[in-house]
Symmetry: C2
């Protein structure tokens, strides 16, 4: 008998699950229906800033696979503009509403994949207010923002709320479009996904781009007239704004799960077992930004919404649904970004995270170069390591620099994954040639100095 | 009583040892004398192609620390233009000859550091021949080559013998100087430090630069007149040459060691224990291109002359001489290079090395991109992995691509160091953002496909 799979959510987590399952089981064996509320499937949300900034010409370029491709090549029945409004675990069916007016219907399932992603954090001041306020979570959001930017009267002044990845990338994109941009960040430094001392380097790069960075400030309200936003209000001042972009982070889209009785973790994400099965529920799986996952280092639950995790979790869920066996190994919080020419990478724990987790650690920060110092293009690179006192275990790493800086974090992420000590890391056999590093790679210099710091702190 | 340390060789291995020992023990405790045959200490031999190519203006830029710095800041007595001609282990003294005519003297030691580096392989046809033939092993070599290139009659046509790192980098440097360059490589493809299928990609880049690549060819002789080289002869043809650069690799500089009775390994390198002490000889240490080391994966002895190893071994030897304790953990043969815009990286075993070591392995080769495919600068990247059949252990990796390709090898080197399987690697938490990779990093795609290949081959 054909097994019926229903997927809720047509973005990375859901469609990676569906296509992976399909690779293992044919359409006669496995019937797959996927419901997507929006217009698009399987796209790069991370690409939205590049679309807005004009580096990418149109939304289609960001789409890895459209519904027709899923239908024709994967025999997956994707229904866009369909919102699932309820899950009935007892009757094993979902209620799906056609958002273009086609009413509701019930779709039975043997296997359910919950992949609703995340929803942006929308502060009170941004709710139900005037026009000109945009999230950048979905391609539909991006399209709405672009339409606003292109419409008369042409917006000239932008405020970006939040200085995380999305905020910083959007600020740069809006500068590229010629807008005057102010970035408002609640913490002391932008890019709070790195420590403040590293964030200060990012702030400098943002200022060089001409972005007005207001950190340590929070937006409390709006000024509007004629139904359009005119300014935002912080505790310190009023900042004119013809457009406001929200980059305040996201939370798991768990409303449907909560109502249906799927177990939720402390982060609000759906609780899954290592195979991505929803805890305690046979035949119910989840993947992507809607799930809670485990930090490999601390063992603690975390919610870190990244496309790369959604894809990996989808692969795991799909292989298991397909009859195979695979577990998701947890995350380290590795992330990279680029601000103009500045590259930023991190993995593992920041200082505040390490403290919160109860670690006692030594901090090492080294300034080195991305090339041999004698080459004309050599540029500075800062590497910061946190290592546990006494054991010397690496706890976290951050890198800020120019070309060839950020992806150096990968070597550190693999070291962290394997629970290496900084002393052992100092002996690692990393690649060296003058166009890529001094003879001691900045990562190795940092490891060496961290080993010294651990010895000094270890008594 | 002051311990007397004599260092033979003023380049990376020797001076890293000396300066590390000095950090731990002051001049009253440890008297350090270093003999260097040439004019320079502690320089980047890897930088010579960039000096010859004009990216670096003068030799001084390549010098990390000159003899005056060692004397003034490290209290290390460096004697350049001094060649050590004999080691007397019984009397514990070396014989040093002043090459500028000052005769010989005997220098006693309590502790000896053998760090004579490597000597280039010079084929018979290049010995005692006409002028115009150069190695590029030392700064003195580089200076001699530059003097020849700048003298009348101005050389116009260059032949580079050997298509390894040095050969390829020198070929590019000579093109930058405006010479017509032919690269002659004995094997089927240049860059034999990667597999031939990857070397073919390097060949294409060399040809784009206008370099005439003659592979599968060996130089057998020279044509000369008036004491100057005019052409080289291969089995196929005669290639005009006003200058010939040797890039045929190096071997350990072990003549002095052999005469003195230091133990040599099968590779010709001095045998050391994990602390870099010469095997069986108390108070005698060795570091750098003159030693034999251990491949971490195969456990076999190897001789891989790289500046990064010399520096690491020097750190280990120096810490041990200084009264500390540290071992050298062996090598993986990680290396990176750049040919014009093409980046090349490798770690672990090539196919021929894996076969020789007796491994049965699955090969995976994937073509991906260095950025999200929708970004305008996205460029192709090829990743090749070797994984052991049945166990799935990573055995080796090679990468060829454009910007941000080569140093991705570091993450693979750390995975190899930690004996990861390709299946576990597919779950690694590497950094993702559109300017750095597709949502599945090429390294992860390769790991995923390698895991599939291992499963398929494992039956």
């Amino acid at each position: 008998m054909t097994e019926r799979v229903v997927v809720i959510g047509g973005s990375a987590g859901g469609m990676a699950t569906a296509s992976q399952a399909r690779r293992l089981r044919g359409p006669d064996d496995l019937r797959i229906v996927a419901f997507e509320r929006g217009n698009y499937t399987s796209y790069s949300a991370c690409g939205i800033p590049y679309w807005v900034g004009g580096l990418v010409q149109n939304a289609d370029d960001l789409i890895a696979r459209d519904p027709a491709t899923f239908r024709d090549e994967f025999a997956i029945d994707v229904r866009t503009h369909h919102e699932v409004t309820a899950i009935d675990l007892n009757r094993r069916e979902v209620v799906a509403r056609d958002l273009r007016g086609g009413g509701e219907h019930r779709e039975p399932f043997d296997t359910l994949v919950y992949a609703t992603g995340a929803v942006p954090r929308v502060p009170d001041w941004a709710r139900g207010g005037p026009e000109g306020i945009f999230g950048v979570q979905t391609l539909d959001d991006g399209a709405a923002l672009l339409a606003w930017l292109d419409a008369e009267p042409t917006p000239r002044r932008a405020v970006v709320a939040g200085g995380g990845y999305i905020g910083v990338e959007m600020a740069e994109a809006l500068v590229r479009r010629g807008l005057d941009v102010t970035l408002v960040e609640r913490r002391d430094e932008p890019m709070s996904t790195v420590d403040p001392d590293m964030g200060a380097l990012v702030r400098a790069a943002l200022c060089e781009l001409g972005i007005d960075v207001r950190s340590g400030r929070e937006i409390h309200g709006l000024v509007a007239s004629d139904g359009r936003v005119r300014a935002v209000r912080t505790d310190a001042s009023e900042i004119p704004a013809d457009v406001v972009v929200l980059g305040l982070g996201v939370r798991p889209n768990n409303a449907l799960a909560r109502t249906a009785g799927l177990p939720l973790g402390s982060t609000g994400g759906v609780l899954v077992d290592p195979r991505m099965r929803v805890q305690g529920l046979d035949g119910v799986w989840a993947a992507g930004d809607c799930v809670e996952t485990r930090h490999r280092l601390t063992g603690q639950p975390v919610h870190i919404p990244l496309g790369t995790y959604a894809n990996k979790q989808g692969r795991v869920a799909g292989i298991n649904i397909g009859g195979g066996y695979l577990t998701f190994p947890g995350v380290l919080g590795t992330a990279v970004t680029k601000v103009c020419e500045l590259e930023v990478g991190r993995t593992g724990l920041l200082e505040r995270e390490a403290r919160q987790a109860g670690y006692d650690y030594a901090v090492t920060r080294v300034e080195s170069h991305n090339q041999a110092g004698y080459l004309p293009d050599a540029a500075p690179m800062t590497v910061k390591l946190l290592a546990e006192r006494r054991t010397g275990l690496l706890l976290g790493a951050q890198i800020v620099g120019r070309s060839h800086a950020a992806k150096r974090i990968d070597a550190l992420a693999v070291a962290l994954w394997n629970e290496m000590t900084v002393e052992e890391m100092a002996g690692l056999d990393l690649g060296y040639a003058p166009p890529y590093s001094p003879v001691w790679d900045p990562v190795l210099i940092a490891a060496r100095k961290a080993a010294d710091a651990v010895r000094a702190a270890g008594c």
